[in-house]
Symmetry: C2
Subunit: 417 residues, 2 copies
């Protein structure tokens, strides 16, 4: 995937010189050993679980007859987009037009925006992308927005692919009623700037007493609706898209798509994002649900993202202060200390964090309650932290280190938030 | 302030081309009107309150005989560092060595790290900075760390200025006992790689039934301790530093420093960070406390940082979904809708957000409950949001727009997190 010269940016030009940056967090270019040579705190991706997750989810999608368009907003890491596309992904999902521009500049050419496109400044970016050859999809859910888009794109002389978003009462965006979906499809049909390419939904906002039944019903509604619109001749593409799925309930969506009689006539697309590095919290819990419903999936995904940081102070008995804070790691849950190393040691000599408990984070500090039996703890000791959810860790970093099982740095990847 | 060639970086080289970036969030180069030409969501700093805050806090410090070293980790925005230094700041405070490297590359030459320096990779950055002419201070609070630093810097042949951190029981870092402070000072005296330059503290971790009394006592302890160490001949500089203060209790610290008999012999330094843009939450509340204690300070600081975003969906009565989320704005408190504009209008036509209530944020979406009387609300309407606290908004952005009172973009500033 070569960068597109029409959308070159300082970011993409920097790529070659990433290793020489003195500005970015976490870089030190005298060595490649995470436990000796890298400025900490640093965000780290482990190659082995990453490779496992990439292959695992691609295989999962294929086994269910679905395409994969991983949500790129999770990582905004072009090297991960490349790995996902190389593994067989159909496209990349994103949340905003600036995100699309960044991904396209890095060579991702089929982009699905799982959001309404509002604002003429954002529409201008979309026009630039389409003109440059991007296959761009956005969602719509209102007559007002559709009229605005129709006028803007007709005037620009390009056609925008749209997916009607299907919502639920009390949910987020999306048409609540089937009638509204049909009306919107009819409106789009009359607008030369727009092309109806399918339906989009997000099951993560389905709640209630029985979320599993609710999500199944929602997925079936997506399938029924896309078939109905196609039957009524309202689709402008040969193989209309039907898409949903985050990283928590992907099995339910994939099953409904597999069993919906879509084969050969529709393009089912799954859009999990967090799967690529999984996590040590929310998604680890969600995976227990997936595996209890689907024991055939075996072990599932593996956590691949950690933040490494050092104890900076042991100011009183039972308390360690780590040089890492809310500016460095996601805190949907309090981070978990996974393993400890002495600085300059190797992975053969892990030290215990048994009973260590993160109790508080400030912007640049983490407070750990040490158990009574903690002995030989030193200022400078390096701790690997797992956390949840990954989106909120990625966006703290301009670069992440890819490491092997011996914590040797294989590569340093920039993010393009 | 010219960039230092020895520490040039892609970041500083990009500076001139910032306006041409297509990768960064929020840029569109066809115009400069925030309500018409800029891709939203976008982070915005208002020039008038910013200029007020810069002058106000500088004046406050001077009136109390103190120097100002604003905490730069809040903004990590070189243009703000420049404005702070131009306004008279003595230096810039930072939290990590990579932050120091970024600030120094942008021309800030006196840097105070309000944290322990751990990790040889971070020490290597410190050595590079000192060799390049940086006047660098770090804090210490343990014999272990002091020994490690002493050895490292002696071997490197440079001298590191250290401040002993004074802590409190149940607090964060810092020596708990006066004896420990003295012992550490004596240890430093014997290490040629280190120079004792003063004492450091942070009053934000003082709690208890009467925090005001607690903070006053803590500030007095800092003053007494620095005088005692100087008297004992343990200070290696002519005018030892005594420093504390965040953006919530700066009046108490400044008063203790003013009344401590430090003049002419010591360098009292205040380190507030958030003051520069203030906020609509935690610090607005804290300011009520400051102004009730000190009515002579008049109105105090003004909020200067907002995030502008657009309604992307009105999916059911009473609900607006805004294209802005946790990836765009700090959520220590839920953001507050301040004012609304129609896209393409001007500031003469503000629309009501009376009774609008932000009830939830997801990664890329904000949920607003609309009151029954809300009429004429449209998809695409632009809302200005205030929030708390500013650190957690700044770090979501690679650039921010500086605007005048008519929301015309005066400049676009990059961040260097």
């Amino acid at each position: 995937m070569a960068p597109h010269s029409t959308l070159e940016s300082p970011g993409s030009q920097d790529k070659g010189s990433l290793g020489k940056s003195t500005l970015d967090k976490g870089t030190l270019e005298t060595g490649r050993d995470l436990l000796a040579d890298v400025s900490l705190p640093a965000a780290v991706i482990h190659e082995q679980p990453l490779a496992h997750n990439l292959a695992w989810m691609q295989n999962f999608a294929e086994q269910h007859g679905a395409q994969l368009a991983p949500h790129g907003k999770t990582t905004m890491t072009p090297e991960l987009f490349r790995r996902q596309l190389d593994a067989g992904s159909w496209g990349i999902t994103l949340a905003t037009l600036p995100q699309c521009r960044a991904a396209f500049a890095e060579g991702a050419t089929r982009l699905l925006v799982a959001n309404q496109l509002v604002g003429h400044a954002n529409m201008a970016i979309a026009v630039d992308l389409i003109r440059a050859g991007c296959e761009l999809y956005v969602t719509v859910d209102s007559a007002e927005n559709v009229a605005d888009l129709g006028e803007y794109f007709a005037k620009a002389g390009v056609t925008l692919r749209v997916l009607i978003e299907v919502g639920i009462d009390g949910g987020r965006c999306g048409c609540r009623e089937d009638e509204a979906i049909t009306e919107l499809a009819r409106q789009i049909r009359h607008l030369p700037g727009l092309m109806l390419a399918g339906l989009e939904g997000y099951e993560g906002v389905v709640h209630g007493d029985d979320p599993i039944a609710g999500i199944r019903a929602y997925a079936e509604r997506l399938v029924t609706s896309v078939k109905r619109l196609a039957q009524e001749g309202l689709m402008d593409v040969e193989s209309p898209i039907v898409t949903a799925s985050g990283s928590a309930w992907y099995d339910l969506i994939a099953e409904a798509f597999r069993d919906g009689g879509l084969e050969g006539h529709f393009t089912p697309v799954l859009r999990p994002g967090c799967y690529v590095v999984h996590d040590h919290g929310v998604y680890r819990e969600a995976q227990k649900g997936v595996l209890s419903r689907r024991p055939d999936l075996h072990e599932g995904l593996r956590p691949a993202l950690e933040v490494y940081a050092q104890i900076q102070s042991l100011p009183e008995p039972g308390l360690a202060i780590v040089a890492m804070g809310k500016r460095d790691i996601g805190i949907d849950l309090l981070p978990e200390a996974l393993v400890r190393y002495r600085e300059g040691s190797n992975t053969d000599s892990p030290l215990s964090v048994d009973g260590w408990k993160v109790v508080k984070l400030m912007d640049q500090h983490t407070f750990i309650e040490l158990p009574q039996h903690a002995e030989g703890v030193q200022v400078g000791d390096i701790i690997a932290f797992g956390t949840s959810h990954p989106c909120m860790t990625f966006d703290k970093w301009r670069q992440l280190h890819l490491v092997d099982e011996n914590l040797q740095v294989l590569d340093t990847w920039k993010t393009c938030f």
